[in-house]
């Protein structure tokens, strides 16, 4: 029997059901981990750590989820905050001479259930796009990803990122423009 997200959430909140929460994790782990890989320059380990943190925080805050937004949007909001917080700490560390997280981007595409169906050109595209996006600011990256990859409306992005609608529009326009420049450089570099 298929249980809706709402049924599962109710079971987690009222009965503290770990089985129901496991079902929610299984349902959303792949898109969330993919998104975080695209947002972290395809750093698989970091993306998975952030995804884990996101689910743990979601579990803690689930009682406060009122169902006004889609569950996925609510999850992305937590993931976004996790990512921003992580990179803030990483930048501070970088300034004080600690290990740089930005250099730990892996070159292998993640283990996937559909490896056979994803040809190598597409594998490169996923990785290279993620790497190019890593040069954008956290906000630009998130806004572009949600708008162009997850096809969220600008209003949804505004709600997820807790920023004004006008800022979302600016982030998308500038992000696209910057990404276009970066990908031209990438194309040139790839050809030489």
């Amino acid at each position: 029997m298929h249980r809706t997200d709402q049924d599962l959430i109710k079971a987690v909140v009222k009965e503290d059901s770990h089985t129901a929460f496991a079902e929610l994790v299984k349902r959303y782990q792949s898109p969330l981990r993919y998104s975080l890989r695209q947002l972290t320059g395809w750093n698989e380990a970091l993306a998975d750590d952030l995804a884990q943190e996101t689910f743990i925080k979601a579990h803690r805050a689930l009682a406060g989820y009122k169902g006004k937004a889609k569950f996925s949007s609510w999850l992305y909001r937590i993931a976004y905050n996790e990512m921003v917080s992580h990179f803030r700490v990483a930048r501070n560390r970088e300034l004080t001479g600690h290990i740089n997280d930005f250099d730990s981007v892996t070159d292998d595409l993640c283990e996937t259930g559909g490896d056979a169906s994803v040809d190598s050109a597409n594998q490169n595209l996923h990785r290279d796009l993620a790497k190019a996006m890593h040069s954008l600011s956290d906000n630009q990256r998130m806004a572009l990803h949600l708008h162009l990859h997850r096809e969220c409306t600008q209003q949804e992005i505004s709600d997820i990122m807790s920023i004004p609608l006008g800022t979302v529009k600016t982030l998308i326009t500038r992000g696209k423009s910057r990404l276009q420049e970066l990908l031209i450089e990438w194309n040139t570099a790839a050809k030489t």
């Binding site: 503290d16 770990h18 929460f21 496991a22 994790v25 299984k26 782990q29 792949s30 898109p31 981990r33 993919y34 695209q38 998975d48 995804a51 884990q52 689910f55 743990i56 579990h59 595409l109 993640c110 283990e111 996937t112 259930g113 559909g114 490896d115 994803v118 597409n122 595209l125 996923h126 796009l129 572009l144 162009l148 990859h149 096809e151 696209k176 423009s177 990404l179 276009q180 990908l183």
Partner: protein
Amino acid sequence: MNKHTDIDDLFATTRHTEPYIDNAGFSTKVLARLPQRAELSFWKETLITLAFTALGCTLAYLFFPSEQLTLLVPSKVVISPMTLLTITGLISLACASAYWVDKTNRL
């Protein structure tokens, strides 16, 4: 070439070829980090219940004015057949109501 279309197309391609990332123990790791429910074993729960019951009985025995209570107990109780019938009827009614509530999930 329209530069916006380029980026849109690129994202459209990644969107359509987004790989499914295998769970491969990911959800197990998440569940392992969740706070564990404070579940007591049957024996622990029974022992705690018995210990507190014994404690309660001891305190009651020590502090309850049992002599005064004994004086309150009537030495003779007379129940007429009508009173007995009324009490039995009320108990039956209460049982039937409880049964109906349970069967119809009214609570």
